[in-house]
């Protein structure tokens, strides 16, 4: 039979209280200790690299940018739109899996003020996504440009105007979409619902919009969607219907911040 001893705990470990640093550490442990996080991030990176390299390898002279200007940088970053969706799913899962498993009860019992949990999740998701996707962007850019110049096509270098901004911008967009995922997961508390909403906002609405909206004001609306807003600051040669880079960045930021604020308000208000 097991005997019971409630030992006096190591005193040094029992002095400290709840801190934001502690919450960050906790969220980091949570992200790292579930297999799906690493796999999702790996999937996003692979998707970006494989797509980019395929487009670079099959690049022909007709692959012009939206202006009719050849954009070799854009060719190698083609996979970003798919990778975005995958990092968005990562963001969703960090919150929705807590609700589906009941972990959220442990989490919110430990941090009853709640908002540090949301902030912590945003921080660790961005902390994981940004560096990985930045490295991925560089890798696919360098590999893709090598392929294209090897095939005798025009290629770009990191030092060319707008290229560095495009690479950093693509990693920033990935991080932003992951944060939108966190917010949707927190608002909807349901993996399937949050992922569907994310797909709708990022993919379906732009596609549907260009089909059903009247041509006279279609572009005025579509340029404010998150995907087109981010294109405005990620493209080296942005299309004519896009916002300017600073405006695009501002609009994209609104798409990130508004769901996050809604998530924060609901997190404080609702029963767990």
């Amino acid at each position: 039979m097991s005997t019971v001893t409630v030992d006096a705990p190591a005193r040094s470990e029992v002095r400290s209280g709840l801190t934001f640093g502690g919450v960050l550490h906790s969220e980091w442990i949570k992200l790292r200790s579930v297999r799906s996080s690493g796999l999702t991030l790996l999937a996003a990176a692979l998707m970006m690299i494989v797509t980019g390299l395929i487009f670079a390898a099959t690049f022909g002279s007709d692959s012009d940018g939206a202006n009719g200007v050849t954009d070799p940088t854009g060719v190698t970053l083609t996979g970003a739109m798919f990778a975005q969706l995958v990092v968005g799913v990562l963001g969703v899962l960090t919150v929705s899996s807590e609700y589906s498993t009941g972990m959220i009860r442990s989490t919110l019992t430990g941090v009853p003020s709640r908002l540090p949990v949301l902030a912590g999740k945003v921080a660790v998701v961005v902390g994981a996504v940004f560096p990985v996707m930045l490295a991925t962007a560089f890798a696919v850019f360098l590999g893709g440009q090598a392929l294209m110049s090897g095939n005798g096509h025009p290629s770009a270098a990191v030092g060319d105007p707008g290229v560095l901004a495009a690479l950093v911008g693509s990693a920033a967009t990935m991080s932003g979409v992951a944060v939108i995922g966190v917010a949707l997961g927190s608002v909807l508390r349901n993996t399937a619902g949050a992922i569907s909403t994310l797909v709708a906002v990022m993919f379906l609405v732009p596609g549907l919009g260009s089909l059903v909206l009247p041509a006279s004001w279609r572009d005025d609306v579509l340029r404010f969607l998150p995907s087109n807003a981010s294109d405005a600051f990620v493209s080296v040669a942005p299309g004519p219907n896009l916002l300017g880079a600073p405006a695009g960045a501002a609009v994209f930021a609104v798409w990130v911040v508004v769901p996050l604020v809604v998530a924060a308000v609901l997190l404080r208000r609702r029963d767990a």
Binding site: L18, G22, S33, S106
Partner: protein, 305 residues
Amino acid sequence: MIEVENLTKRYGPRTAVDGLSFTVRPGTVTGFLGPNGAGKSTTMRVLVGLDAPTSGATKVNGRRYREHRAPLREIGVLLEARAVHPGRSARDHLRAVGATHGIGARRVDEVAEMVGLTDVTRRRAGNFSLGMGQRLGIAVALLGDPHTVMLDEPVNGLDPDGIRWIRHLLKDLAAQGRTVFVSSHLMSEMALTAEHLVVVGRGRLIADISVAELIESAGRGVHVRTPRADDLVRLLTGDGVRITTAGTGTLDVDGLSTEDIAERALAAGIPLYELTPQRASLEEAYTELTRDAVEYRGTASREAA
């Protein structure tokens, strides 16, 4: 110390807790007893801030839970519903919860050992049996070495060895001066661990009573066997005395002591073959208390009652 003051919690049209007030004091094990659906889990969820009260207030160690600077050091909680990600190892789960309060690997290993999970901490929690899951939940509750421990149905899923272990643990924690508050829908379980009981039904307080008082208050009677039952009934009948015939020549007398019955029977020359004080079991006392508060009762048992 746990204080619940006039707590009401409604979920839509359903009232889960209805004007509930009680205080749980340190140093003893207090049982939180009531039929399923009586509002026990809801009260516990409100106490640790998971649900907001519709009205009223709750306090843990003198303050509202959210106002504590180190909540996990004030109260350790095991909630009835599962609260673990199945893909995470037990150790990572404990580390993640502890990290918020700067509680590190050493304490994690300590509590894992206390609950007997040392050998399986690296296994994924999803592969745990119900009993191991309960032990993990109890380990989480003990992480912060809290002044108050609150466990919702902790014996659920535990084997007999585990149940014995939990009883010892609870008594041990109380003996150290901590507040121990444990819910159960089984009186038999509480009878073995708790010294004090908070009994609820349909979200309301039914009794806030020590176990000894509860037994005392429960209807006790005296079992009497006599060849002159009819004469004895006539003799004893009076104010506050209830007599039921339990068979040929046997009576159950309520409201008189054995001494009274014996002396009056002797004076009247009625022989008594048997005179046995009946002690209501805790189970019976509890059933008596909650008779009107059971939310879901089968028709068969309604007829039986």
